[in-house]
Symmetry: C2
Subunit: 197 residues, 2 copies
């Protein structure tokens, strides 16, 4: 077992187990079994059960931030940027259901139970959205009256809740790309019929 990276193996196993049972119902021995490792080995790589969850967040959200920032790098139109963010988020959640379930559920818990822990990675992720709004306002494309702090939460919440339900329910009446398109259009252009104000 020299070559295989135990740390990642345990994180991967934890994603699977947390997704299946949730953080509190997951047993360390479940994660150990899933990772094909002894219970005690986990404590060579993590301080405790919470620490696994926190590391999982930091690492996975860290990757997502890198990806989306790379995608946005070349783009300048704030509308397109919003759409790219939405599309990337939804496709990612659609393709990594286990990770999606863990992030969607446990993110809320971590905010609450580990008051000492500020989830800076998550804040950084959502702030990508408010940065786009600021840029759009500076360029006169988006309304000045918009509060970027409200928008980023509303936009992220819309994506999060829509993908959450998609991941949970077995029958999908829409694809994640469709949903991303619908949501970015709603936010950018509103929902009024053509020719109505």
């Amino acid at each position: 077992m020299r070559t295989s990276d135990k740390h990642s193996k345990i994180i991967g196993a934890a994603i699977t187990v947390f997704a299946r049972k949730g953080f509190f119902n997951a047993r360390i021995s479940d994660i150990a079994k899933e990772a094909q490792v002894a219970d005690g080995t986990i404590y060579l790589y993590f301080n405790n059960k919470y620490d696994i969850l926190i590391s999982l967040f930091e690492e996975e959200i860290g990757k997502i931030i890198l990806e989306v920032k790379l995608l946005l790098e070349k783009e300048t139109d704030p509308r397109t940027m919003l759409h790219i963010f939405a599309l990337h988020h939804m496709q990612l959640m659609g393709e990594h259901k286990e990770l999606a379930e863990v992030l969607q559920m446990e993110l809320r818990q971590s905010n609450k139970f580990m008051k000492e822990y500020r989830n800076t990675k998550f804040i950084e992720y959502v702030d990508v959205v408010s940065a786009i709004i600021h840029k759009g306002q500076k360029e006169g494309v988006f309304r000045e009256s918009l509060l970027p702090g409200v928008f980023k939460r509303a936009f992220f919440g819309a994506l999060d809740e829509t993908s959450r339900l998609w991941v949970l329910s077995p029958d999908h009446t829409y694809t994640m790309s469709e949903a991303a398109q619908q949501i970015s259009d709603m936010f950018i252009y509103g929902i009024m019929a053509e020719g109505r104000s």
Copy 2:
């Protein structure tokens, strides 16, 4: 203690304790102490710890649905109806922070851990939104291309996430009414500056 309604007293205590510690970290004895009742008494009114959480959902969301349906009854303009829904939701969460925390956090858990339990009350609540969209589409006010199933989730998610962060953080840069106004405007009219398409 003959006259006081123990059932409601326990539900009220559970809201406080679940909000403070979360469902899994809450002890039955905490709830009992908060309700000024013996541990065993709780089992005269509820089957087990889960049952308290489920009853709490059903009863509290039930009340919210009644309220919002009453408010919408007299209104016919679908745009105003969306705004009323948003305003009512946000003001409620702002005024009942403990309930807000429990609904926002534990709702997600219940979906997951109690697979047998379909949260029909929650579905009914969110379907109020899709009904408004249907009405607006029928009247030609809202775009035909909108998927009401996506809209209801996006709209609810936006309200939920925005109120969640508002309840969590101590410093509020916006009021709940402002947020409700911003969010319904975003969805109805989009975020483009005047005169831009």
